[in-house]
Subunit: 142 residues, 2 copies
């Protein structure tokens, strides 16, 4: 199995609300391959998809039941410390909830968290140890 | 906020077990930036990170409590229909649980699901409508 994540699908409770947040609030580019109950966004090397949560669970042969922290966090790394506060503010203006205002992190960077309309946590981080490449992706050390 | 996902962090219940699955079982390249309780894998344009679930929840200022379906599915797209079965078998051999054997999908492809040792669902899919680029990433239509 090659080391590759092709898509990340968020199972959403209110599809219209989620699509509005990512497409209109954050201004992310939605693909024409999107449909009435699925949305695909180009986000660098990985696709972010939105799909109704019960349908996603059914597709995976899982019970849709679940509550509390789902165990996964997404992260959006930025090139400067200042950009962290700006992006958090932009997300909140678009309808996100601030989970954690940005603070100096013990690992030497600066980061905070917001929750999208379905509660999925996003870290917004500046990490001086993980420089960003020309395409904006994190350049991991070997 | 640029359209970019930099990292996906899986909050894991048994860090050693999870690291063994991705590093040794699937053979994914782990970065030297990894530490005693964090692992970073290069996976195309996005980084997959493993981190103990309680620490991840605390970092995001969330309660670690949660159960059932977390609402997020990851997907690994492959270039051929045959590769779907091969990758599912490889994941199961590495310690994954088969959630759904591959079937012909209503959207015209072929896909199945496995769960990693923490239960996170991975779809393995061949999608003739989403060709893969030279780097293996999904090429979304405009």
């Amino acid at each position: 199995m090659e080391a590759r994540i092709s898509l990340i699908t968020l199972g959403v409770g209110d599809f219209e609300r989620a699509r509005r947040f990512y497409r209109d609030g954050l201004g992310w580019p939605m693909s024409g391959a999107s449909g009435e109950d699925v949305a695909f966004f180009r986000t660098g090397g990985v696709v972010l998809a939105l799909y109704p949560r019960p349908l996603l669970a059914a597709d995976a042969h899982l019970s849709p039941d679940g509550s509390g922290f789902g165990g996964i966090a997404l992260a959006h790394n930025v090139a400067t410390r200042e950009a962290v506060d700006a992006v958090l503010a932009e997300a909140v203006a678009a309808g996100a909830t601030l989970l954690k205002p940005a603070v100096d992190a013990e690992w030497g960077g600066y980061s905070g968290y917001f929750a999208d309309p379905d509660g999925y946590p996003w870290e917004v981080a500046w990490n001086p140890h993980f420089p960003l490449g020309p395409d904006g992706s994190v350049q991991l050390p070997e």
